[in-house]
């Protein structure tokens, strides 16, 4: 291409003006050039101006970068790994931080990664089952069958899968028995007996995910994954240190499924304790665990429809087969229904899961024993719920006066029970918003009937559910009174009955109540007596309890018993210097008696009189007896009324074997305590 034929070539007219030199012409030429420039480069100048504006504005620059960022990333990652390497630590950190904040959310998001592999590993068995199901549905030609066929047409899903979705209550597809440390699958079973080659990888990956989650959590805040949910799949994990069980299932499993898992795992861990501890990779011995794992497989489907009358079948079949227009109409009519049915099914599923979770809370509550929990039979309408619920409430009603009657009105349970009662009555006529919401959630499923045994001291199911923010009105409770032997309940029962004072602490372990601290003895004895009458209490250990006064009493008794009053030779009146001692002794004895009486005990005293080796044996017995009597006389003189026993021991206990000895001529006192109010006083021996 040559420049001249180009019509846009700008320089073509220029040579004509190059000869002009006058200043006026110069300015004119300048202006011309300026005009020309504007004309010629107008677009470029504008662009330049825009560019400058852009460079000056950070907003615009950010916009620029943003518009090309994605492309730049793609290009860069296609060329080499540098970008990835630069970003990895950053992303890693962000993910870890977010994980630390909400571990559960994150672990749930990890599950989809496993989903496909699990799906793959169980796809085959699924397929086989779907086929057989499909056949059975073909024979049962029902309204539902038609609707599902249409849904299958509409969604492009195989008919059998649509059927499965609608009829499945739950189905456990795979059970993995996994060695914790290595993540190796020890044994696994799939539904329909299809063995999966991938179980090793599934279990390794599951283990890796758990390791990861645990690594990311702060120390001491170990939170194990025991439930992952993704779409229709749920993964339940039950673990012991040596091994764990993972079950992959769809739908809502029966409420006690986890208990079955736990029992199975416990059995396996015990059965294979040795092999698990010394596991070197040989999974052979664990093959025998398969029958036990198979027990965890299972499924339940809702009942099928009753077949339609033959003429309807024929009519519908003829319509669909012969007339595409009619089929189209039916298709159209059912399109909406089918979509709604799918939504309903989903809502029902999640409703059921919610209800099961709520029942689980009740199961975990001490003093409540759930013996039945299920959807109410079809005949029960929501309106009958209220009446069905009332026996439960009146059961609570009956409880309250009882508590008052047994003198336990001050118990912590009583006010709450009363509060819950007034709650109920207060809510009745007001038609609170809670009821409206209950009605809304009821659309997803019928209310549940729960039958519970309830200890008098346990919280009501309503209280438990309310505490966890659950809607108790979706349940009707029937409460049957019972006495729970759960430790929590027994200790609550004892607590209410004996009402330990401030400085007494109580511990309950294996049927025995341990009391410790300081308390007046009469309280201790009474508490012990009461506690022993309560169900679930085998014994009451009060060795840890002391009466603050008993130390004082013991000191005084010791003082009395340690004192010695001495006598002149052949006399029964103490030596003058011991007279004040004797007076003090008698005072102390009186004090002992008072304090002991306060503590519910009676005091008795034994007085031993002694003589020295001088004199005849008979004389010595006499004089020693006379010395004991003097003390007795002094006590009587004080009006103590204390039971006394007097012994004259002669010189049997003389401190010197011969000759006169003042220290041998003495009296000795022994104080005895005995219960005056209650027969039990064995703690004194401790």
């Amino acid at each position: 291409m040559t420049p001249s034929p180009d019509p846009a070539e700008p320089r073509a007219p220029a040579p004509e003006h190059t000869g002009d030199t006058s200043p006026a012409e110069d300015t004119r030429a300048d202006k011309e050039i300026e005009r020309l420039r504007t004309l010629l480069f107008h677009r470029e100048l504008l662009l330049l101006e825009q560019l400058r504006a852009r460079l000056d504005s950070p907003d615009a620059r950010a916009g620029d970068v943003g518009s090309v960022l994605a492309e730049a990333l793609v290009l860069s990652s296609r060329e080499d790994d540098r970008l990835k390497m630069a970003m990895e630590p950053l992303v890693d950190r962000i993910v870890k931080e977010s994980l630390r904040d909400n571990p559960h959310e994150f672990s749930e998001s990890l599950f989809p990664l496993m989903g496909p592999s699990i799906r793959k590993s169980i796809a085959e068995s699924f397929h086989a089952m779907l086929e057989s199901f499909s056949k059975s549905m073909e024979t049962a030609f029902s309204w539902k069958g038609i609707r599902w066929r249409l849904e299958s047409l509409r969604t492009g899903k195989p008919f059998s899968e649509v059927v499965l979705l609608h009829t499945l209550v739950y189905r456990v597809d795979a059970v993995y028995f996994i060695h914790s440390a290595t993540g190796i699958s020890l044994a696994s079973v799939m539904n329909e007996g299809t063995q999966s080659g991938d179980s090793d990888m599934v279990s390794a990956m599951l283990t890796a995910i758990q390791d990861f989650v645990n690594d990311c959590l702060a120390d001491g805040k170990k939170e194990d994954l025991d439930l992952l949910r993704q779409g229709e799949y749920t993964l339940l994990v039950e673990r012991r240190p040596a091994a764990y069980l993972a079950c992959v299932l769809r739908g809502a499993p029966p409420a006690d499924y986890r208990a079955h898992m736990r029992a199975c795992l416990e059995y396996l861990v015990m059965e294979y304790a040795g092999q698990l501890a010394n596991f070197k990779g040989d999974t052979g011995p664990f093959a025998a665990s398969r029958p036990r794992l198979e027990k965890l497989l299972g499924s339940r489907f809702v009942d099928e429809d009753k077949p339609l009358p033959v003429w309807i079948k024929l009519l519908v079949a003829a319509l669909i087969a012969a007339c595409p227009g009619a089929a189209g109409y039916v298709f159209y009519r059912h399109r909406e229904n089918a979509a709604r049915a799918a939504e309903d099914a989903e809502r029902r599923r999640s409703f059921r899961a919610d209800m099961l979770a709520a029942v689980d809370l009740l199961r975990r509550e001490p003093g409540l024993l759930v013996i039945h929990a299920a959807e109410q039979p079809a005949g029960d309408t929501p309106s009958s719920t209220a009446s069905a619920a009332s026996p439960g409430n009146s059961g609570q009603n009956r409880d309250t006066p009882q508590e008052g009657a047994t003198g336990e009105a001050a118990s912590p349970a009583a006010p709450t029970a009363a509060a819950s009662l007034s709650d109920h009555t207060g809510q009745g006529p007001a038609a609170p918003p809670e009821q409206a919401s209950a009605k809304a959630s009821l659309d997803a499923g019928t209310p549940w009937k729960v039958v519970c045994l309830k200890d008098r001291l346990a919280r009501t199911p309503e209280e438990v559910l309310r505490e966890h923010g659950k809607d108790a009105s979706l349940f009707s409770f029937t409460l049957i009174p019972y006495v729970s032997y759960e430790p929590d309940m027994v200790s609550k029962r004892v607590d209410l009955s004996i009402q330990p004072p401030e400085n007494v602490s109580m511990r309950f372990d294996d049927g025995i109540i341990y009391l410790s601290g300081t308390a007046p003895m009469h309280w201790t004895l009474e508490a012990r007596r009461k506690a022993l009458t309560l169900p679930g209490v085998k014994d009451v250990d009060i060795r840890g309890l002391s009466d603050p006064r008993s130390a004082r009493l013991a000191a005084m008794i010791q003082e009395v018993q340690g004192a010695s009053v001495e006598f002149p030779l052949g006399k029964d009146v103490p030596v003058p210097e011991d007279m004040p001692k004797l007076t003090h002794l008698v005072d102390t004895l009186a004090a002992v008696q008072r304090l002991a009486a306060e503590m519910g005990m009676a005091v008795s005293l034994t007085i031993y009189g002694h003589a020295d080796a001088v004199g005849s044996v008979a004389r010595n017995y006499d004089i020693s007896q006379a010395r004991a009597k003097v003390i007795a006389a002094m006590l009587y003189a004080r009006g103590s009324g204390m039971p006394l026993a007097l012994y004259g021991l002669g010189a049997d206990y003389a401190r010197k074997s011969e000759g006169p000895d003042q220290s041998s001529r003495r009296i000795e006192l022994r104080v005895h305590l005995s219960p005056s109010v209650v027969p039990e006083l064995d703690f004194i021996n401790h």
Binding site: D92, L113, D200, M205, D211, K280, G281
Partner: protein
Amino acid sequence: MLTKKICMLGAFAVGKTSLVKQYVYSIFSDDYLTTVGVKISKKNIAVNGVDMNLVLWDMEGRDAYTDVNISYLRGAMGFFVVADGTRRDTLDAALQLRAAALDVTGPIPHCLLINKADLAPEWQVTREDVDRMRNDEGLTTFATCAKTGQSVEESFRTLAEAML
């Protein structure tokens, strides 16, 4: 059936993932999140007439060269430390990783793989280095190539035999 957990250790980009890919035809999930930091794959082999499943845990490279993720090593019954022949520093990293791993696992069979044998002219790791690994460190060492498959099968077989 004997199932063994094997870990792949080594600095980033030395070729751990490539070696596993070369050895195993069925990688579990290729786009498995690197966040979790591990890719798991499996290979079944018969060694001396014994049927064996190798479950391979391929650790993703972390920020630091020698950062060992202890919980993933838990229960490992053997491991590879991998170095890149063209990067001398990855060999030092490999030795450090090996020591750190043995601290966690106790004495278990392991091999050193010096990878990217196809780039031999560019190697910074020398003949003497390799001899020193074999003799002084007593390390079973292979020069491997994840691209061509050279010595890959052999190295896995050797480790598997050692784990029997």
